[in-house]
């Protein structure tokens, strides 16, 4: 069982790194999108305010929550593999 916990520990450590990388990437693309939207329309309001409001909406939005799939999908894949390869 120790081997399993070791795998889980290092596995989730690796996924945590991936989680942060994907979060940073997703936030960056969101900001770029907002900047381009404002630049194309030259409004509404001030550029910085528009981007700040958009980023605040992003922090509460669905897209940010979906990044948790970084943990969920590999966990389900491992459970499915254990079931299919040993007990199916």
């Amino acid at each position: 069982m120790i081997a399993m916990f070791r795998l889980a520990l290092f596995g989730y450590l690796g996924l945590t790194v991936l989680y942060f990388l994907v979060s940073i990437y997703s936030r960056s693309t969101q900001r770029e999108e907002l900047e381009k939207e404002w630049d194309a329309a030259q409004g509404p309001g001030e550029r910085d305010d528009y981007i700040a409001a958009g980023m605040a909406a992003y922090e509460k939005g669905l897209r940010k929550k979906l990044i948790w799939l970084v943990y969920v999908i590999p966990t389900l894949a491992v459970i499915a593999a254990i079931y299919l390869l040993n007990f199916a």
């Binding site: 081997a3 990437y25 960056s28 007990f87």
Partner: protein, 217 residues
């Protein structure tokens, strides 16, 4: 230089190919002719053996289960049947005892009326190192000519391509949004320092010039 470059790329490509060829699952259609247990003392080939059954202690040697089989063309193949447990490669195989029983139930020595099975395995058989492919699952199939589509491998390479694409996009985004602006501002700063140094140098030269004698008439 060109030869060095191509040698390097060839070595990398061969290593990658070997890695995937060894690790990814493959299917053999065979007839199981027998099973056995042998004690194996792992030597310089220990790299190519998996782990002891999950929950049992690791020693310098142990009994390993083997499955002997024959291809439709009469060539033989020997599989080992070891747990991979929680280690590498990630097959999470915990059921080697059960698999051995399944293989024993499918033994078919009646050549007139053979039972064909598909053995999913990874690894290589190599006589020089005494290594064997590790059997993962055994399923009965209708005949020696059934076509098995490697769905897992197709899926695996699609996912791998997706992950590489994601990493590449992440890097491109990081470079575009973080590194390039920083380099630009560093460049601007260097230009400013350069300008200031130039003007300092000009003032220094002007100061030096004041020490020169007046031009002779």
């Amino acid at each position: 230089m060109r030869y060095v470059k191509w040698t390097f790329f060839t070595i990398i490509a061969v290593l990658l190919f070997s890695f995937f060829h060894y690790t990814l699952p493959q299917h053999d259609i065979v007839r199981v002719v027998g099973t056995e247990n042998r004690r194996i003392d792992f030597g310089e080939n220990s790299f190519f053996w998996a782990s002891p059954d999950v929950g049992t202690a690791a020693g310098t040697n142990r009994d390993v289960r083997f499955i002997n089989a024959e291809y439709p063309n009469g060539k033989i193949i020997v599989y080992r049947n070891e747990d991979t447990g929680w280690g590498w490669p990630p097959y999470f195989k915990l059921d080697s005892s059960n698999l051995q029983a399944e293989a024993q139930a499918l033994i078919s020595n009646d050549k007139a009326n053979p039972t064909w099975v598909s053995v999913t395995h990874y690894g290589w058989r190599n006589e020089f190192l005494t290594i064997y492919p590790n059997a993962i699952t055994v399923t009965q199939v209708e005949g020696p000519d059934v076509r098995i589509i490697p769905w897992f491998n197709i899926f695996f390479f699609i996912v791998l391509a997706g992950i590489l694409l994601l990493l590449w996009r992440m890097w491109a985004q990081f470079r575009e949004r973080t590194i390039d602006p920083t380099l630009e501002s560093i460049g601007d700063t260097i230009d400013e320092i350069d300008d200031r140094a130039d003007s300092l140098w000009a003032r220094f030269k002007a100061w030096l010039a004041t020490w020169r004698g007046k031009p002779r008439r």
